[in-house]
């Protein structure tokens, strides 16, 4: 593999050889299947900034809509060396390792309460993280002997979620929320943090938020201890919670 040739200060996509910038993309335009539609896709790709755009496949999706698969060359690069310094990369433990770690460092069940807050009806993320079934063959925290989980479901008011967390002595609260570019839903996430503060419980509880656009950077702004997004499996979440809890137990602040 040509691994050693990579210039990490100027990283770009590649397909055939390093630096070719080749990107494959697919999208739909709300125009009838036609040569004009193909032309529109090429112009759009050019306008986005792709060089040598090429339509490799297009077809009618339904009347009035055309689906495209395209290639194009991206000329922009990013400085990976700067990004790699940001935040902290943690090494994730397997389910068994989480179990052994919890036994060695905590010696009790870890209580997690989860919900999709406010108006969000998408409980899929919470279900995948908490429920026994999990997803992609990784079962959720409910399946770990060291976790005691409460999944409150969707559209749960923050005050009710917090009350449940206090009632069961939760070590961590997990909320999922779809964050849009218009950040319509961010207020629900910040309100939970503020309410935990108002109840004087902020240092007793690990707050974790998840959702399709939630990064660690966004989690920090929102006031959470961690953020998880697409590609997160339950054992990632479990690793974070048991490690953070162990750190708090060993160094009470």
């Amino acid at each position: 593999m040509p691994h050693r040739e990579v210039d990490l200060s100027a990283v770009g996509p590649y397909a055939d050889h390093l630096g070719d910038g080749l990107v494959q993309m697919s999208f739909t335009l709300p125009v009838p299947y036609s040569l004009a539609a193909r032309r529109a896709a090429l112009e759009l790709a050019g306008a986005i900034g792709f060089q040598e755009p090429e339509v490799v496949h297009y077809e009618e999706l339904t009347a009035g809509y055309t689906y495209f698969v395209m290639y194009g060359r991206a000329t922009s690069t990013v400085d990976f060396t700067a990004l790699a310094q940001e935040g902290f990369d943690i090494e994730y433990m397997s389910e068994d390792e989480v179990e052994r770690f919890a036994e060695a460092h905590l010696g009790r069940k870890v209580v997690v309460v989860g919900a999709s807050t406010g108006s969000d009806t998408h409980s899929v993320g919470i279900d995948a993280m908490l429920n026994l079934k999990g997803y992609h063959g990784h079962h959720g925290l409910e399946g770990y002997p060291c976790f005691q989980t409460y999944n409150l479901g969707s559209q749960v008011p923050n005050s009710v979620l917090l009350a449940k967390a206090i009632e069961v002595g939760a070590d961590a609260i997990l909320v999922s929320q779809t964050v849009t570019q218009q950040n319509l839903h961010v207020q629900n996430l910040t309100e939970l943090v503020e309410m935990v503060e108002a109840e004087g419980r902020r240092r007793d509880m690990i707050l974790v938020c998840g959702g399709p656009r939630v990064t660690n950077e966004l989690a920090k702004e929102l006031g959470y201890d961690a953020g998880f997004s697409k590609g997160t499996y339950p054992h990632h979440l479990a690793t974070f919670i048991v490690r953070e809890l162990a750190a708090r137990v060993s160094a009470p602040s």
Partner: protein, 370 residues
């Protein structure tokens, strides 16, 4: 006489919180203006952020370029180890705080050079207070605490001594709506303090001092009788349960809430009041404990339940950002004039407007928001 600047209005407060009503209302621009003024006055500042400041792009909308946080040599900062390292500014490590954030551990350092850096301090209010006090003890003459998004906890009098509030066009496409929502936020911050006959007030304050976080008390008119609310009652009680609990004893007059006061509880008091109960005064520690968005404090007051606080927030000034990035904008002078009418008795600045930058002796800053 020239009009006062942000730094003049906040000069007497050791710890100043900057809190916005939403993202992109200009908190960080206000912070940058304050930092510039304090640097020219030769004051040693300490800076921390409950979120993250000085990043190049907005965390949700990448198209939005954010303001830089420029600090001079000698300034103190509470930020994460990795962000301090990435700034390239030489610094002296004063303390490791042990506070872990999603972006790394928070350090307190004294800068040995000038430059721009990203600031991400503790998120939890009690930890914000601790690092602020640490920076004061390490020689900062004033600590500036930048908020994040619409988080208010840093403005609690338990954390900061004074507040600068930021609002802006981002709240709504309607100018009237921006003014109305800002006025409600100011009304909330300026909730009246506990007002009772001196003897009664002393008894209520003594009860509050002995209350556990999250607990609640129902108190009689003269504060001689009281009983505890069931655990988590304020967070979860339905109107029927509230009604029957308040009718159990004669003449409840005060409700002491030693935690969060959610809107559902206030709304749940209204049926009790409509059926002849009350009037009631709900007492909270400070305005950051009150969570109302559907109705404002005036609505509940008219319904017979007033909200009072044991401690006040010292709101010193307001900044406005007349621009909603990637969307719309208003005329700065008109927005400020309407806000002045609506809130009264508060200095309102647009720190990017020539009228302010000229008074501050600055060139016009770059066209960014924060």
């Amino acid at each position: 006489m020239s009009p006062p600047l942000l730094s003049d209005l906040t000069a007497s407060a050791p710890r100043v919180a900057l809190v916005g009503l939403a993202k992109n209302t200009g908190k960080t621009v206000a912070l940058a203006a304050l930092l510039g003024e304090l640097a020219r006055a030769g004051r040693t500042v300490g800076v921390t952020s409950v979120g993250r400041d000085g990043e190049e792009h907005d965390v949700i909308d990448f198209r939005i370029v954010k303001p830089r946080v420029e600090l001079t040599a000698g300034s103190l900062v509470a930020t994460t180890d990795s962000l301090l390292g990435a700034s390239g500014i030489p610094s002296e490590l004063l303390a490791r705080t042990g506070v872990r954030t999603p972006l790394g551990e928070v350090l307190i350092a004294r800068l040995k050079g000038s430059g721009a850096l990203e600031v991400a301090g503790p998120s939890a209010a009690s930890e914000v207070r601790e690092v602020s006090d640490a920076m004061l003890s390490f020689g900062a003459e004033q600590v500036l605490i930048d908020g994040a998004i619409d988080r208010r906890a840093a403005s609690s009098p338990d954390v900061a001594d004074a507040l600068v509030m930021s609002t802006g066009a981002i709240l709504s496409e309607s100018l009237e709506e921006v003014v109305a929502r800002t006025a409600e936020a100011v009304e909330l911050v300026r909730l009246p303090m506990l007002s009772a006959e001196a003897h009664t007030e002393a008894k209520i304050r003594a009860l509050a001092d002995n209350s556990d976080p999250g607990s609640g008390l129902v108190i009689s008119e003269d504060a001689d009788e009281f009983f505890a609310l069931p655990a988590r009652f304020v967070l979860t009680a339905e109107p029927a349960a509230i009604d029957s609990l308040l009718r159990e004893r004669a003449a409840p007059r005060w409700l002491l809430v030693a935690g969060a006061l959610p809107e559902a509880f206030l709304a749940g008091l209204v049926p009790y009041l409509r059926r002849g109960g009350g009037p009631l005064t709900v007492l909270v520690s400070d305005p950051t404990r009150v969570f109302i968005s559907e109705r404002n404090a005036g609505y509940y007051a008219r319904a017979g339940v007033s909200i009072q606080t044991l401690k006040r927030i010292d709101l010193r000034a307001m900044t406005v950002n007349p621009v909603a990035p990637q969307s719309h904008s208003f005329d700065s002078a008109q927005l400020r004039a309407l806000l002045a009418q609506a809130v009264g008795d508060l200095e309102i600045f647009d720190v990017m407007h020539p009228s302010y930058t000229a008074a501050a002796g600055l060139g016009a800053p770059q066209g960014v928001v924060g």
